[in-house]
Symmetry: C2
Subunit: 391 residues, 2 copies
């Protein structure tokens, strides 16, 4: 057994959306995308890896449960890491020949549609890179696990460049600014209940690429200009501009889903109600103070500055009443300010049915993957799961 590496890695929520692959196998996108990386203290994936001459097989445990190591995406990541180690001569051949144990878990529900695979693969690839002492950028390797995982390799605000090369070697993420650049930026994730069977992102992207006439225009005309503008807005800490582009790009992504054939929709009536609320709130404020964005599911991510958080949470509690009031707001410490009669009158929106929003996660922009050395490894000294699920 030769040293256990444990890493935590963040989720990221895109503000310019990735939708459509130029190469299915290598997971090369049709367009650039931009995201914020969220604080690992609130939501994270955690992965421990180790190699040992004693191991007879590569093995992986996800959330305590043993899974097959044969997934092509997992295999691709491990192969590329090892090739990089060979190229960098970072470890010796004997070390490279040993089998590996991987143990990974999320501190948030995998099924909630909260970009768990992005955090998971960023975590795995960063842990492997440390294990094999790789010095170069590994975002393109994380990309092979799950496209948007390449953005979770960096903290702050991140730009995933689509790239032009056939092998995807220039389809990498770069940091726009670090997590301390815009310290007031916050995110509220509204987890929306939904029991519909949804179209997976992989399948949805394929249908859109093959059938949406509008997608080509989005890729060629809309995304390049928006990407440039939002990078500027982030550098200048221009919240109005940032918010407008974020909302427009979320809407356009969902428009593309409807323009696909057959069409599919990820947003529910509750998602649309959140959109209405944000636009009305911004109208009352006279400028954008909150921005929504929706991934391939009904959950909203609201970006806003710290000074707005209490007021907005008060309105959310009014509009989306809950039956679990004690733990409705998770994450960072805060207090909701009860909404004033005046604001409620101006909003003129009726509360939704109870538990339409199941709970809210309050978080902020944070750093990229970091090694954990506090002894909380998921593998014991022999390289086996500390907390295996007994089945």
């Amino acid at each position: 057994m030769s040293g256990i590496i444990t890493v935590v890695a963040p989720v990221n929520i895109a503000v310019i959306k990735y939708w459509g692959k130029r190469d299915e196998e290598l997971i090369i996108p049709l367009n650039d995308s931009v995201s914020a990386t969220l604080d690992t203290n609130v939501m994270c994936a955690k992965t421990s890896v180790c190699v040992s001459p004693d191991f007879t097989n590569n093995e992986i445990w996800l959330n305590g449960k043993k899974e097959s190591f044969t997934s092509p995406r997992l295999q691709n990541c491990l192969r590329e890491i090892k090739l990089r180690a060979v190229a960098e001569r970072s470890v010796d051949d004997v070390f490279l020949s040993w089998k590996i144990h991987v143990c990974s878990e999320n501190n948030f529900p995998t099924a909630a549609g909260l970009a768990s695979s992005a955090a998971g693969y960023a975590c795995l690839v960063t842990a492997l890179a440390k294990l094999y002492k790789i010095k170069s950028d590994v975002s393109s390797i994380a990309r092979l696990g799950s496209g948007s995982a390449c953005r979770s390799v960096y903290g702050g605000f991140v730009h995933w460049h689509a790239g032009v090369k056939a092998d995807g070697s220039d389809s990498v993420a770069t940091q726009i600014v670090g997590s301390s650049h815009w310290p007031q930026m916050r995110a509220l994730i509204l987890v929306v209940g939904d029991d519909r069977k949804k179209v997976s992102s992989t399948k949805g992207m394929k249908i859109s690429k093959e059938t949406s006439e509008l997608l080509q225009y989005r890729i060629e005309k809309c995304v390049p200009r928006r990407t440039e503008e939002i990078c500027e807005a982030i550098k200048n800490k221009d919240f109005s501009k940032f918010a407008e582009i974020t909302m427009k790009d979320s809407n356009q992504f969902h428009a593309i889903c409807l323009d696909s054939y057959p069409p599919f929709a990820y947003m529910t009536a509750t998602s649309l109600k959140i959109i209405d609320f944000v636009h009305k709130y911004n109208e009352i404020c006279g400028e954008p103070r909150v921005a929504y964005t929706f991934d391939a599911g009904p959950n909203a991510c609201l970006y806003l500055l710290e000074e707005e958080v209490s007021k907005v949470l008060g309105l959310i509690q009014y509009l989306f009443p809950t039956t679990i009031s004690d733990s409705f707001i998770k994450g960072l410490d805060t207090k909701a300010t009860p909404a004033s009669e005046e604001v409620l009158q101006n909003l003129s929106l009726q509360p939704e049915a109870k538990d339409s929003v199941k709970y809210v996660i309050y978080t902020k922009v944070g750093d990229g993957p970091t090694e954990v050395t506090d002894g909380s490894s998921l593998l014991n000294d022999a390289g086996w799961p500390v907390n295996p699920v007994i089945e």
Copy 2:
């Protein structure tokens, strides 16, 4: 009092959608559109008009209730009709100077979002044209009342040409084929319950024109090709092609609404369920047998050939159960065939909550406006409403 004219006029449902105005005042569209005119025996507007030296004011009654005659759209229609009469020297100056009484009603709920203004203005303008003995095409005058009204001036399948002139004189409708060309064509209108406050078409079009980046591409690239292709499909009675273009264009229109800023959505969860059902049904059939289209509201219009009607109605009754089973299917005579276990298994869709679809109107492609001479005028011999609403 000088002769009462009574006309009935049809609704029409577009298969290539009109969305966005080049000129707000003159109601000139940004793109061509195509529709089918539906049988006036099932759904129609009915309008009686007359002039008399005894009338002191122009007056109008809608569904029995007196309304103001000052609406600019109404004024525009009357003014243009009179100008046309002058140009054609069809009636003398004294006749033109007399005041007018108009009485109009729909035989279907105005609020149901079923293109009532299209039928209403087509009916009014046709009645006025007959009253003033106008011989030339009046579709461009109906257009001044409500854009899509110009399509209701003709029967069968109709093409509204956007035109290029500033005065809108070439923004007219023409008939592609008459109602007897494709006699098997049927329509099922699924009236969907919805209590949301929706964005009016006029407002929605304006927002889309000003903010949707994708709309311009739709107008320039998508609609011209689709219009050409669907006109061909209609002439060739190619149902597969007709259905595919119809569905894609409905989806694209709703995609544009989502791409607008702020975005708006007309379809509800029930609308999306109808879409899913149609795609699954077509997949089972191995080819498109049913096409859906949605206007600026949640109601679906399904186009299908007569031979499919009973089967599809059976499935609709299963998927959208009702509490008013005796009058659930209105319109033309038909019988729903109870869905077979095998088809239901293949569909693998669960029934919606009761009354998600309130009722279904079964109709077919029909003729344009026609004069009624059976004595069922809405005005009595003195030119006043036969059935005024007492308030």
